[in-house]
Symmetry: D2
C-alpha cells in the first residue's frame, strides 16, 4: 500500500507558503522575516527595525537576548553540560530550585512544591487540573468567561473562546463557566451564584475540584480582576474546600509589577502555573507549584520528555538572580505600568467608547467597534511598532512591552500608538 | 484571606527532597546528580561516568552535545538572533523548513505540510487528533493496546497504561482500543474485528476519525509491528476513509534505521508526529506533518507560546544536514541495530522465558518474571550503564543507545547488561 | 458455571420485606397496605380510610377510579379491543388524537404534532431532548436549579438533585444549570447571565439546543415561576434560536388551573412533555408535543414497546371529553386553588419562617427548619391525610389533592394539616 | 411573547397524518386501522382479519386478550381497587410478588430481589446499569455487537444500531462493544479479547462494571448465543468480578421455551431485566431482578411515577398462575419452537444464502440479499400475516407468534410465509 505523493517543485518559491501549515497566524499580520533581536527591538533580515511591544506574548519579559541570561546559557552550553535530563537530578536543576526558593518563595513566605511538567503553559495547566482532581476526588473545574488556559484537551475545556473550543473536534468535559469580575456590568453581587449552588444539593452543579483563574485575562480581552474580587474568590474556595488554581502563565513573572500577579490581592492559591517568561530568554519552560499537602503524585504518574530542560534552568536561574533578588526591578515595572496607563488613558480620552483595560505592563485599549483594534495594530506595524489584539472579537489593542523597557522607549511606543489611533479614526471619520 | 505558610528552614538540606514534587521518577532509580555529558556518556558532579543507553528516552539520538549541533547553536545565540518568535517568520525557521524538505521529504517522495505546535510530543499528538477530527467530522480515534501517546488529556485518552489513565482524574473520551500486532498471540486474524465493525451499522462502534499507531511501542513494552501488519492497517484505513496517524515521536528520527520508522513498511500515513530527537540536541521541539488536503486549520485555531523556538530550528537544521543528507548514517544505525539484536538474543538464550523485543536501536529483553527487568536495570546502573524498563509491568529492559554509538561502545554496554543479567539470575537462583 | 442460590423460607413472612428492593420509598412513610380507592380516598386492606392529597404524585388529577373513565375502560376491555399496538393505527388512537385536537389544541390555537414515546414522563423528556438536539445540531441543554425531569440518563442530566444525579454512577453530560426564578433572592436581573454568555463568543458556554423548564417545580420545592419570568425566557430563547421545552408532566393536565401550566404566561413552547394525569385513571401514558417544523424524525428513530397503549388512549379520551370540553372544570380548579392558598397562608401566618409555595392545586408550605416538613407529613398520616414533602432537603409539605376535590374535602384536609402543624410545633416548642 | 400558530382545518382529514409525529413506523408497513384482537388474530375496523406473528414485538406472548388475564383485570377494575400507587404497598403488589416467588423464583432456585422501575424495558435496563455502576464503583459497561437495549440515553449507549445511536444527538458514553457469539465467523476464540484486556494494565480498557447481554438478539438480527458461549461469558465475568446483566425483555417470559431465556445455559446472571410480556396482556410493566447483595439502593434513589401499576400486577399474577405453575406450557412452547424451526428450514432450503436464525418462538430467516426480508414481510401482509423484519439492514424476517399459538395456526402462518417467499423470489428471478 505505497501511496505516491506528487511533490511540487518548490525551488526558489516561498517555503513558508509551500510547507508551513496554514494554521500560522502572527506572520499574517506581520509579513516580514525577523532575524535578530535585542531588548525591545526586533530586526528583519532586510534590516528593518521594529519596536517590540508584544514580547513573545509574554515570554520575553526581560526583552530579547538579555546579556545576563545569554551569557549564562552560552557558558553552560560551551562546557558540554547536560542539556536534556528528564527528571534526573542535575546541577542546573538544583541551582534553579535554590534560586527559586531564595528569590521567590522564601521572601514571600510561600511553601510550594515545584513540579516540572512538559515545558509549556498548557502542560502546567493540565498538571494542575489533574492533581486538583486527584486530591479532591472530584471531576469538575470552574473557569471564567473569556479565560484562556491552553490548547491541549484538558486546558481547552477550561478555555472560553468558542473558535478555539470548536477546534477540539469533540465536546469538552468537566468544566463549567462562571462570570469573571464585572462580566455582568456590576448588576449582580460577586459570587452570589457559586456560593448558592455549591451550598444547594438541588442545584445540579456538583462541588468542583477547583476553580482556575487568571488575575488578568491576557487573551480574553485584558480584563483585570479587582483584588477584593480575588480575595472573595479565595475565601469562597476555602470555605467549600475547593482548590484555587491561579494560571499565572501570562500575568506572572513580574508582568503586573510583582513576581506573582496575585500578590497584590494578598491571596495564596493552592496551585500556581508559571511558564512563558520563567526561563527569561524565551526557552520553553514551565512549573506547577503545589501546596505540599497536594503533592500526592505517584512517581511518574505525570511525565513528559522535556520536563528537565537544563538550558531553561540556567537562564531562569540567571533571571531570578538578576531581577528578583530584591524589589528594585518590580518597583520599576510598577512605575512603567503607571506610565503606560496614563498614556493609554490619554489616547482613550479622545476615542468615545474606548477604555483602558489591564494592569501593570499587561494593558491595552478596548474599542466599542471591535474592528478598530485590528486596524490600529496594522497601522502601528506600518509604523514599526509590534502590538497585537486581544479578546473574543479582537476588540482590544494589547500593549505588552518588555518589563525592561525604558521610560523613553515606552513613550516612543505610546506615541506611535497615538498616531495609529488618530490615523485609523481619521479614515473611519 | 491571607494564608500564612510555615516554611521549613532548608538551608543545607537536599533541595530536591524539599522542593521538587514527588512525581519525580528517573532520579529514584539513578540517585546521582549529573552535570556533564558527551556522546554516549553522562558524568556526575562527582566525576562518575555512566554509559548512557537511555538517550533521554529517545530525545538524544545523536548523543549528548554533538559538536555540529552545539556549534550551530552557540553561533546562533552569540549573534543575538531571534530566540522566541511564535509563528512569525524567521530566517531560522525558513532554514529548517528548507532542510526538512531537502533531506527528509523530497528524497522520500513525501508531500507533507509542516505544523509547528507546542514543542512537546504530546502537543504534536493533540494537534494530530484535533485536525483528524476536524477533517473527518468524526470524534472517535482508535488506538492500540499498550500505546503511549502523551500525558495531556487528549493524548492520554489514546494511551493504554491504566495508572497513567487514572491520573487524569476524569473519564477519558472518544477513544477505543484495538489489539496491537500479535496482542492475542496469533489466535485471531489481523484486523478481523475492525474490518467487521466498521462495515456493520449495528456494531455500536461508529467509524472513527483516525487510527493512531506507533510502529514500535517504546513505552508499552517494545512490541514491534510487522511491516505486513502496518500495510494491512494502512490499507484498511484507506478503504474506510479513516485517517492513519503514525506517532513517530520515539521511533522516528532514525531510531529504527530509517528517518521515519514507517518507511520499512512502505506506507504513507496521513499524519505524522515527530518530536524528541527532532532538534537533535535535546531542545524541546515537535512537528505535526499533514497531507496537504488535511491542512484545514483556521489561522491560530491551534496555537502555543513556544511553537516557534528558533534554537531548536537551528539544531534541527544542523542535525538534518549532518546526518540525513544521504543514507550513510541510517545504514550504520541498521548495522548497530543488528549488532544489538544479536547481543540481546545471546543473552536471552540463557534466560528461559525471555525474548528479544523491538527494532533497530529501540530494542530490549522481555522477561516472563516482570520483576527481573527492574532488577537488571538496577544492577546495570551499579555497573555504570543507564538502561530503563518498559511495559505495563516494567517487564522489559530497554536498550536505547545513541544512534551515534560506536560498535565498541555498544559491545561494552551489552557486556555490562550480560553481567547484570547473570548477577540477577544468580541471586534469583 | 451454575451458581446455586440459597433461598430463605419465606412462607408466612413479609414478602415486601423479603422480595421487594430496598429502593422502595413511599411505603416507608405510609406503612399500610392499600387496596381500594375512590375519588380523594384510599382504603387499606384493613378498612382504614385516608384522605389522599398526594394524588399519585400528580398522576391522579381526576381522583381514583373516576366513573366516566373507568366505564370507558371496562367497555373497551370487555369487547376484546386491541390493548397493545406499538405505533400501528388503531381506532382508540384515532379517537384520542381527535379528542386532543378538539379539546386541547384547537381551542388554544396550538398546532403541535403528537409524538407517542414510551409511556412515562422520563421517556417524553428523553424524546424532547433528542429531537431538540437533532433539530438544532447542538448538544447542550440548559436546565434550572432544583429541576426534576426524570431518572433515565438523559433526563437525569437535566435534573438538579445531587443524590439522584449521583445515582447515575457516571458523570452526566451536555447539560448546564441556570438559576430558576428568584433563586438568587432577587439580587440579580433575570437572565442577565444567559443573555450575556449566549451572545459572547468567549464565554465558554456554547449556544444550547434547548432550555427545559417546569413552570412549577413539583419535586424541587414547589417554586413557581412568575409569568413575566417565563415570558422573558421564551423571548430570550426565540431571539437566540434556542428551543424552549416545557416539562408539563406534573404541572400540566389542569393542575395549575388551566390544561397547560404555561397558558397563564401566554407563551407557546416549542416542545411540551405531558404524562402523569394524561390518561386520567393512572395508566402509564405520555406524549411529546412538537411544533410541526421540529417533527424531523426518521420513522422508528425513537421507539419503545409500550408507545401505543390503547387503554390509556381510551381513558385519556374520556377524560378530555369529560373535563376539557369547556372551561367549567378549569375554573373550578382555580377556585379550589385559591381556597388552598388561603388555607395554607393562614397556617403559615402562625409559623415564623414558613411560606406558601406553588400555584393552583400544586402548592405547599416551606419551612425554614427543613426537618419540620417531614414531621408534619408524618403527623398528617397519623391523622389519615396523605401529603408528601418536596425539595432538596424535603423542606416543603406538598399539598396536591385531586382536581375534583370538593370544597368541603379540601377544607377537611387543610384542617388536618393545621392540626398536624400545631402538634409538631407544640413538640418542637 | 404570545406566538400565534396557524392551525390547518383538519375536519374530515386523516388525523394520523395531520397530528401524529412522523416517527411512527409500523403503521407504514401495515397501513390499516386495527380495532379488535383475540389470541393470534387482529381485526381491522373494516373487519379484515390478520394472523399476528408479531405479538407486539414480544409483549403479547399469551396472545391478545387472553380470557384468564382479561377477567382478572375486569374484576379488579370493577371493584374500584387501587390502580396507581407508586411504591406504596398494595394487595395487588403483594399478590404479584408471591406469585413471582412461587412460580418463578423458588422452582428455579433463584434468590433475586425484585425492583419495580418505570414500566418499560428501557427503564429496567437503565436501572440495571445504575445499580451495576453503584455496586462496583466502575463506570463502563460492555455490550455486544447488534445489541438492542432501549432508547433512553443510558440504554442507547449499550445499543448497537448506528441509526438509533445517532438519534441521541450527543455522543454516547461509558460503553464498549465486544463481538457477540459467532460475530467473527468463528475466526477467533470466544472472549480471547475481553480476557486479555481485562487482565492487562496497559490495554487502555478499564475493567467494566458489567456486561449486558441478550441470549437471542431480538432486534439485532435474531442471533442466538450458544449455551457454552453464555457459560464462558458468565465464568469470565465471575473471575474478574464483572457483573453479568441479562436483558430478557424480549427473549424472557417463556419466549424461548423456558421462563428465562438463560435457563437452558444453566447460568445465573447477577441482574435480569424483564418487561414486554411480563404483564401478559400488553400492559406496561417491567422489573429488574437483583442478587440480594446488589440491592444497595437508597430509598427513592431511582424512582418513576408509574413504578406501581396495579392492573399490570393483576394480569401478571394471573399469567404466572395460569402458565407457569408447572412445565406444561413451557414444554408446549418448546414443541412449537421445533415446529417453527422445521418449517423455516424447509423454506430456507429453497433459498440459497438464507438461513434459520433464533431460538424457540423467537426465530426467523436471514437472507443474504437484505432487501428480500422486507419484501417477504410486505407480501405476507398482503396475505394477512403480520411478520416484521430484524437486523441492522432489516435482513431477517422475524417470526414471533404468540406462545399460545396452536400447531395448526403455526402451520398456517408458515404456509403463508412459504408462499410469500416463493412469490418474492419469482419476481426477483
Amino acid at each position: 500500500m505505497t501511496d505516491t505523493m506528487t511533490i511540487p517543485d518548490t525551488t526558489g518559491t516561498d517555503v513558508f507558503e509551500d510547507r508551513e501549515s496554514v494554521v500560522r497566524s502572527y506572520c499574517r499580520n506581520w509579513p516580514v522575516v525577523f532575524d535578530r533581536a535585542s531588548g525591545a527591538e526586533q530586526v528583519t533580515e532586510d534590516g528593518d527595525r521594529y519596536l517590540d511591544f508584544f514580547s513573545g506574548a509574554g515570554a520575553l519579559n526581560y526583552g530579547h537576548n538579555h546579556p545576563a541570561l545569554k551569557t549564562a546559557l552560552l557558558d553552560y552550553l560551551s562546557e558540554d553540560r547536560v542539556v536534556h535530563s528528564l527528571d534526573m537530578f542535575t546541577v542546573a536543576k538544583r541551582d534553579f530550585l535554590r534560586a527559586f526558593e531564595e528569590t521567590v518563595l522564601r521572601p514571600r513566605g510561600l511553601d510550594y512544591r515545584v513540579q516540572l511538567p512538559g515545558p509549556t503553559g498548557t502542560n502546567a495547566v493540565e498538571t494542575a487540573l489533574k492533581i486538583a482532581r486527584k486530591a479532591t476526588g472530584r471531576t469538575d473545574v470552574v473557569s471564567f468567561t473569556n479565560a484562556f488556559h491552553g490548547m491541549t484537551l484538558g486546558s481547552l475545556a477550561v478555555t472560553g473562546n468558542s473558535m478555539k473550543r470548536a477546534g477540539a473536534g469533540t465536546p469538552l468535559y468537566h468544566s463549567s463557566t462562571a462570570p469573571y469580575d464585572d462580566y455582568l456590568d456590576g448588576s449582580t453581587p460577586d459570587f452570589a451564584w457559586l456560593e448558592r449552588v455549591w451550598a444547594d444539593g438541588g442545584s445540579g452543579l456538583a462541588l468542583p475540584a477547583a476553580v482556575i483563574v487568571e488575575t488578568v485575562q491576557g487573551e480574553g480581552g485584558l480584563n483585570a480582576a479587582r483584588p477584593e474580587w480575588l480575595r472573595a474568590l479565595a475565601d469562597l474556595c476555602a470555605r467549600f474546600g475547593v482548590l484555587l488554581i491561579v494560571d499565572d502563565v501570562q500575568a506572572g513573572c513580574g508582568r503586573t509589577g510583582r513576581f506573582f500577579s496575585f500578590e497584590e490581592a494578598g491571596i495564596v492559591p493552592d496551585i500556581v502555573c508559571l511558564s512563558k517568561s520563567l526561563s527569561g530568554l524565551g526557552l520553553p519552560f514551565s512549573v506547577t507549584l503545589l501546596k505540599p499537602e497536594l503533592d500526592l503524585w505517584e512517581p511518574g504518574e505525570h511525565n513528559g520528555t522535556f520536563r528537565g530542560f537544563n538550558p531553561a534552568f540556567v537562564t531562569a536561574t540567571a533571571a531570578l538572580r538578576e531581577f528578583w533578588s530584591d524589589d528594585t526591578f518590580a518597583a520599576q515595572v510598577r512605575e512603567r505600568g503607571a506610565q503606560l496607563r496614563t498614556g493609554l488613558e490619554q489616547i482613550s480620552a479622545r476615542v468615545p467608547g474606548s477604555a483602558y483595560r489591564g494592569r501593570g505592563l499587561l494593558a491595552g485599549l478596548r474599542f466599542e467597534d471591535p474592528t478598530l483594534a485590528g486596524r490600529v495594530a496594522t497601522e502601528a506595524f506600518d509604523q514599526h511598532l509590534l502590538v497585537e489584539t486581544s479578546g473574543a472579537d479582537s476588540e482590544v489593542v494589547k500593549v505588552m512591552p518588555p518589563l525592561t523597557v525604558t521610560a523613553a522607549e515606552l513613550q516612543r511606543g505610546l506615541d506611535i500608538l497615538d498616531r495609529s489611533v488618530r490615523s485609523v479614526l481619521a479614515v473611519a471619520a
